[in-house]
């Protein structure tokens, strides 16, 4: 008998190599045709900290973390209690433990999971250059039926440069682990992969966001490192350079957003990436982007807040600051990708929208998407490009008006290099000719225009992912979409009906479209990862939700799991 999905944790501290083993497991699974998702949980230490690679594999696309762990392989148990809550187990789970590392911690043993002893350290020590993580990987591979060829390709790729000895040592470690596991008789063999013809990608949300920026036409990035957004910047550095763009490291987030505005003012599509603390620092300049109508894209990879919060764990609690964090009436774009792969589409779309509407766009990703890797079908190409409406017929009789009060609200832009378009863009309120004005009529006109360009734009179908039918609907966003989608599909698999509405375009709001999507719905479940139910309150402020509304909302760091959403839905029906 095989299983449709298997969820595995590789746990270890201080150089055990749990992350590397998890990465190799995901890569090997991809090689043989499985889909997968790998997230991580780490301690705060720079080196030597406790760490867990959390991997879920399946023959079908993986939307989110598994309900519980089927298999934990622990190289040691150092400080595991710090993230034991992130390792839900049941009596059907299996814990593989090295007897030399002591007892299985009570917090995990209490689940009633089956325990199997594997002398990982001893087995590794017998191999010249042997490492515990390879022994563990070999055991996992044997348990889930991962073909050896898939692992060999990964070893060659990862260790080829280190020479034959390293490759042989790893192979021997895998063999040793696999040999031991062969006799365990566990029912965790994963169903055969369905390779198909399509191209698959192995990508993280942060990489996907970077790629989306490139595909949208971004040519400039100013960067200040911050967890968990840094990988976007590090990915963009070489790849912008390869495509004729530039990345500059700034002195702080105040500077990175300001540099982006400068580059964008001069006509070059620009992006920066940050997390909550950095977004807080950027808000004044984002307001300048709104007032001066300078496009810019900010990817906020959300983490636990407030303040420094929990930098390495996910949360969706920057929604409020992203939507409301600017002083004054400052409408701007806020979008949220609904999956790791969608970080590509949504970031690319954000670049397009920011340029088309000449305003800042905040992309709300989060740590769970950004720092997780997934094996996915190659995303379809989207047409969205940076295209700014530029002024024409400059230098004629009429003096150029940078903030002309057009019907659409979008004013043709003049950028440096265009003779006759000289003007001073301003964060002071201004008249149509860009000169500062504190007159009521100018303020009203410019506020109206800056709102109108957003509200009158036709955003098409991309505003939300809408799936399923029935009288009960899950309304969600961001990385809560994955478990919600899986929960809805489980209901459907059981012969019940449910809808999923995952809102990608947070702002401007689309009340008519949501009303249409929820037509006939009598029960709504809002799913989000915040303590204060920010998304629910946001929906209440801007939308009429039909029927009876329930909320599933809890803060990080625990991910929302499909089982929890499914159980809530079942309880509501």
């Amino acid at each position: 008998m095989t299983v449709d999905s298997v969820t595995i944790a590789l746990v270890g501290s201080g150089g055990a190599g749990a992350m590397t083993a998890g990465q190799m497991l995901l890569d090997a699974a991809a090689n043989v045709g499985w889909y997968g998702l790998m997230s991580r949980s780490t301690g705060p230490q720079i080196r030597g900290g406790e760490a867990a690679a959390l991997v879920r594999l399946s023959p079908t696309p993986v939307h989110g973390p598994g309900d519980r762990f089927d298999l934990i392989v622990a190289f040691d148990w150092q400080n595991v209690e710090r993230f034991a809550a992130e390792l839900p187990l049941s009596d059907k789970s299996v814990i593989v433990t090295d007897p030399s590392q002591g007892e299985v911690p009570a917090v995990l043993a209490a689940s009633g999971a089956k325990q199997i002893e594997l002398p990982i350290k001893e087995l590794a020590a017998k191999i010249p250059g042997g490492r515990v993580n390879m022994v563990g990987l070999g055991a996992v591979a044997a348990v889930i039926g991962l073909p050896r060829a898939g692992i060999d390709a990964v070893i060659r790729k990862a260790l080829g440069k280190k020479g034959d000895a390293a490759v042989q040592a790893s192979s021997a470690g895998i063999d040793a682990g696999a040999k031991e596991a062969a006799g365990w008789g566990l029912d965790l063999e994963l169903a055969a992969p369905n390779r198909g013809d399509g191209v698959r990608w192995n990508i993280s949300g942060n990489e996907a966001a970077g790629l989306g920026a490139l595909k949208g036409g971004v040519k400039f990035c100013a960067a200040y490192p911050i967890t968990p957004a840094t990988e976007i910047l590090e990915w963009l550095a070489p790849n912008l350079a390869r495509t004729g763009g530039k990345l500059v490291q700034a002195e702080d987030e105040l500077a990175s957003i300001a540099m982006c505005l400068g580059a964008s003012f001069s006509g070059v599509p620009s992006i920066t990436a940050t997390a909550g603390p950095g977004l807080s620092l950027m808000t004044e300049c984002i307001g300048l982007g709104v007032a001066s109508e300078t496009p810019v894209v900010i990817v906020d990879v959300q983490r636990g807040g407030p303040s420094t919060g929990i930098p390495t764990k996910s949360e969706q609690s920057d929604l409020n600051i992203a939507v409301y964090g600017l002083h004054g009436d400052a409408p701007h774009l806020v979008v949220g990708p609904t999956s790791i792969g969608d970080c590509l589409f949504t970031t690319q779309w954000a670049v397009h929208l920011a340029e088309a509407l000449q305003t800042p766009a905040i992309v709300l990703s989060d740590q769970a998407m950004g720092q997780s890797r997934a094996i996915i079908d190659k995303p379809a190409d989207a047409p969205h490009k940076a295209e700014r409406l530029l002024a024409t017929d400059l230098g004629g009789g009429e003096k150029y008006k940078r903030y002309a009060n057009t019907e659409s609200g979008v004013s043709p832009a003049a950028i440096p290099g265009m003779p006759g378009g000289e003007h001073t863009a301003d964060g002071l309120e201004h008249a149509e000719n860009a000169l500062p004005s504190s007159q009521a009529s100018d303020h009203q006109k410019q506020l109206d225009k800056r709102l109108r360009k957003l509200t009158s734009h036709e955003f098409g179908d991309a505003w939300a992912d809408i799936e399923g039918e029935g009288e009960i609907a899950v309304v969600t966003w961001g990385s809560s979409t994955g478990p919600s989608r899986e929960a809805v599909r489980r209901l459907e698999a059981a012969g019940r009906k449910a809808r999923l509405v995952a809102i990608r375009l947070i702002f401007p709001v689309q009340p008519a479209k949501l009303a249409e999507a929820l037509k006939g719905v009598t029960k709504v479940l809002v799913v989000e990862q915040t303590h204060g139910a920010q998304f629910h309150k946001f929906l209440r402020a801007h939308y009429d939700l039909p029927g009876e509304v329930s909320v599933f909302s809890r803060p990080g760091p625990l991910p929302i799991r499909a089982r929890e959403v499914h159980e809530t839905l079942v309880s509501l029906i």
Binding site: K246, A258, M259, L261, G262, S266, C285, P416
Partner: protein, 280 residues
């Protein structure tokens, strides 16, 4: 002096670089003269208006962009250098100048000043120093004397020592450092021209009196004096000399030879090629 005769095409005049917006500065303010120096420098260099960008933050002197006829960006308090860096890094072919005051540049924007100096992007910063916040009614700035007691905010005086902008610029690595005085706009124009022509980040500290909140600064015209040394390309020598200066010496302190920062490389990949890296 250029003894070549002018062509028939009329040479640009300072007037060509002025907009029709009337400055709101108090009559008597030094910034009027600095603006005159700026437009004279632009005319002298024949800067193409459409290829010139001036950036400012917030404050009296930061109002300058709207008074010029080139592209301008009047941004937020303290961030002008970062915005300008973005302009120049993204579009190296543009002329980029930054205008601002002592509060904008050295207090709220102090960190950006430090890093603009060390980053050495090829642009020119004209900082008009009147040792006071004018737009908010006369509070002490980072260059105000510790015992200046005229502000309601610090009635006993700010009580902290002022910074020395020229020494700070040198310490942080600016490649061209000079000081001018609004009372001599032609010399200010010369310093700006030299600063713009010099590769890298040029800091031009201009003493520019505030007649409203620091009326005693009218006396600066008898306090300033020529610095009295030839410009050096050695930052250490410049620093030693500046530390002996009384803060009123005028001239070019450093014309260094650090290479400007300007990243950029040829296209080597298509996006499709980059995407292939993700394929399993």
């Amino acid at each position: 002096m250029d003894t070549h005769l002018t062509e028939n095409v009329p040479a640009p005049t300072p007037h060509d670089y002025k907009s029709d917006v009337k400055p709101i500065w108090c009559p008597g303010c030094g910034d009027y003269s600095v603006l005159a120096g700026i437009t004279r420098a632009m005319a002298n260099m024949g800067m193409e208006r459409h290829n010139t960008v001036v950036v400012s933050g917030i404050g009296c002197s930061s109002r300058i962009p709207a008074y010029t006829s080139v592209y301008g960006y009047h941004t937020v308090h303290g961030r002008s250098l970062a915005v300008a860096s973005g302009v120049k890094l993204a579009r190296p072919e543009l002329n980029v100048l930054i205008f601002g005051g002592d509060g904008d540049g050295f207090s709220i924007g102090g960190n950006h000043f430090l890093h603009a100096c060390r980053r050495n992007v090829d642009m020119t910063y004209i900082v008009m120093d009147n040792q006071v916040y004018g737009m908010t009614k006369g509070q002490a700035s980072p260059t105000t004397e510790a015992d200046w007691c005229e502000s309601k905010l610090t009635p006993e005086g700010p009580g902290v020592n002022p910074i020395q902008p020229v020494a700070l610029a040198l310490a942080c690595g600016a490649n061209f450092v000079a000081r001018g005085f609004s009372g001599d706009p032609n010399e200010v124009a010369r310093l700006i021209v030299e600063g713009v022509k010099h590769p890298g980040f040029s800091v031009i500290h201009v003493l520019s009196p505030c007649v409203t909140f620091r009326p005693e600064q009218r006396g600066w015209k008898s306090t300033v004096h020529p610095y009295g040394r030839e410009p050096t390309d050695d930052p250490n020598a410049a620093m030693r000399a500046v530390l002996e200066d009384d803060g009123f010496g005028l001239g070019i302190f450093l014309a260094g030879n650090r290479r400007p920062f300007q990243p950029g490389s040829a296209v080597t990949s298509t996006i499709a090629q980059i995407e292939e890296g993700f394929a399993v």
